[in-house]
Symmetry: none
Subunit: 225 residues, 2 copies
Amino acid sequence: MARILLVEDDTSMGFLLVDFLETNGFDVKLYKDGIKGLEAFKNHSFDFCILDVMLPGMDGFSIAENIRQVDKRIPIIFLTARSMKEDKIKGFNLGVDDYVTKPFDEDELLLRIKAILNRLQLQEEDQETEFTIGQYTFDSSNQMLTLGDDSKRLTQKESDVLKMLCKSMNNIVRREDILVAIWGENDYFHGRSLDVFIAKLRKYLKDDTSVNIENVPKVGFVLNT
Amino acid sequence: MARILLVEDDTSMGFLLVDFLETNGFDVKLYKDGIKGLEAFKNHSFDFCILDVMLPGMDGFSIAENIRQVDKRIPIIFLTARSMKEDKIKGFNLGVDDYVTKPFDEDELLLRIKAILNRLQLQEEDQETEFTIGQYTFDSSNQMLTLGDDSKRLTQKESDVLKMLCKSMNNIVRREDILVAIWGENDYFHGRSLDVFIAKLRKYLKDDTSVNIENVPKVGFVLNT
DNA sequence: TAATCGTTGTTAACGCGTTGTTAAAATCGG
DNA sequence: CCGATTTTAACAACGCGTTAACAACGATTA
């Protein structure tokens, strides 16, 4: 159960979020201004931060800077007004993991949080980087796909996509989940990118006919062995 | 379309709310005092309650207590005066889902209602995904219907319909409910689509004669095993 | 009983959105 | 600047879901 630091000055929005996140299995602490939030961060160990950008006292970006001085790797999600430009957010070179514009869909926020946690878990826990795909072996940490003597070094994204498919071997992996986890956004163009990568992976995997990547229309893909 | 029980003694506020909620696709019944509201609750099936705390006859908290005796899970939102302390509301250990202070922003109320409804849907959907249908097994998360060695990957809508039938196995599932849940609206053409999908499912399920999808004319379908 | 009407069963054809695939353009990294 | 990688574009192919068409059935009349 991940511990989340939430800094949000609007009371009703704050409660709404706390409630929602708690029912989804997170341990949430809410602070209404940046000073207190930052203080809390220093005194407790959180796994995750969700910061409103517009705050009295100290804005979200400043909090993030301070948090980053303490912990360089903790995931941070910003809540921003829709009017705020992407550039401005990305411009803050703080290793921001994601941001969500208000008013936002709670499920979308949850999806993003889970995607980030998954990503981190992968980095931390996944010693299991070796997958067997029919007669192939795939070493995701080396991005290496091997069939007999033939080895092919995959690119980063090729490897990321294949790894997601491998982790749910013979099960549907949702387009949406792949896009959010790897690209961070689920829109038309990234969707087309995914299709391109699926085509590449199919080409790499074509030498074992017992292996195939199946499309489930409008839902996602299955790596069948 | 969720059915909402609204108990509010102030006439103008009441009409305002009814109007607003109805234009947002809810089916709202308004009662001006707690006794009638409670009575209505017992006689009808509501999905949601919005209760004013200050009421003549029986206050909102008392109604909530009584409602909880009938239905332990139904979402309740309180309308409270701003002056009322948080503690007092949360103190009522009634499983109150949310509260809104008057005067309130209608959009905020809508947001809260939707959030709660979403949450409920999530909780419901996250339930079991594996069903046994006679000799078949149906894995709704993988959209896979299996009989012995034979597996058939269903399309999304096929899977959605079958899942609804499975969740009420041997019970009537109303046409209207399926149409609203899966197609979003209940009109002639979507109704015919549903019939087409029922025909497809019957074909998929024909190899176990103990399984059948029964039509209940003008009402819906039953998946019998 | 026969005729009519509304509902459902079933199959098939069509349109259109999604996906497959390749190639060009853009971006990234050194 | 170059090569590698990713994104975007373009077009082909496919298949899902809708719609149509007709058959079957039960209920309701006369």
